[in-house]
Symmetry: C2
Subunit: 198 residues, 2 copies
């Protein structure tokens, strides 16, 4: 319940799927959000509703296509080999830049920050990316203040992390920012996860 | 290439899906194996081929059903809320116990060890499970030497881990055992993961 006595509505997290997304970039954050179902509800969006094939072959169902998506609340974009293609896909970048620009929270993991940057969503913000792909990713964000070596960066409502497992740490910090540190600590405990960089 | 000059064939990892499996229990290990595609190939098996709904709502495609499965190489069983049901499902347990009993490697994450135990696959072995569900899980393995507090346990060809994120550490250790520590270190580095309990 809120302080006004109204029931607490879960926030909706939009997870952006594409062929070649890195499995743990997505499912680390999914686990963090998913362990607090009263606070967060998950939606999986792709170019069209249906099966998407991740970088290591897992096939995951998108329950919503781009054209059917309402204005989003929390947006999270993973990285992975597929981001190398999408970073040059004007149709995708125009959609992402328009759809996510007014979202209350815009987040990425790994080379997902190259997609945010290429869509103009990191202009004027501090951000980070996968350390092994840092030179490539940062080339898409000339107006971004890139932070090499950071495990994750929060600047205003833009949240970006380094590679793969760093998305877990960032999402725990995001959960702490949105719901308080006790909620994030409880999630980390249920994951038996030694939360880094808090 | 092997020392005899033959090409190195990837080992096949069978990931056992069921409704209510915990996302990170599965996708942590998927990421570890997936980052060494020359060494490991992934298959997703469920009661029947098709969509399985995980604990937090992700829908994942099983590419093989139980009746079509060849004798397995590496078997990995995740935990999650769905394991509470399956641990009493005689049909599933009989299938798992028969299918996996001769596999070269049998592994579980979190409460997946309750399923291995209930299927008789941990009789006489040391093993561990989710620390929060330890009492429940260990009730299924009266012939198992349970190791409370262990992040993961390897005993012969049986590999079991504590909850959720611990599956990443166990799978890195398994990759080290199968392929050498340099391979596991390279995978951990690519994940930007601070590998625990090595």
């Amino acid at each position: 319940m809120t302080s006004t006595g109204e029931p607490l509505l879960p926030r909706v997290v939009w997870l952006v799927l594409f062929d070649g997304f890195e499995e743990l970039d997505l499912f680390g954050p999914v686990e963090v959000f998913g362990l607090s179902p009263k606070r967060f509800r998950l939606r999986f969006i792709a170019q069209s509703a249906g099966i998407v094939t991740a970088a290591h072959g897992a096939k995951v169902l998108a329950d919503c296509g781009r054209d059917d998506a309402p204005p989003p609340d929390i947006v999270l974009v993973p990285g992975g080999a597929g981001s190398r293609v999408l970073a040059h896909d004007e149709s995708f970048l125009n959609w992402l830049g328009g759809w996510a620009s007014e979202a209350p929270v815009v987040a990425s993991v790994c080379t997902g920050s190259a997609l945010l940057a290429a869509a103009g969503l990191l202009d004027g913000y501090r951000a980070t990316s996968n350390s092994r792909a840092f030179g490539w990713a940062t080339g898409f964000g000339p107006k971004t203040q890139w932070a090499p070596g950071a495990r994750w960066v929060a600047d205003g409502n833009r949240w970006t992390s380094a590679g793969v497992s760093a998305g877990i740490d960032m999402t725990l910090a995001l959960a702490a920012a949105l719901c308080g540190p006790a909620t994030a600590e409880e999630i980390a405990s249920r994951m038996e996860y030694d939360w880094a960089a808090r």
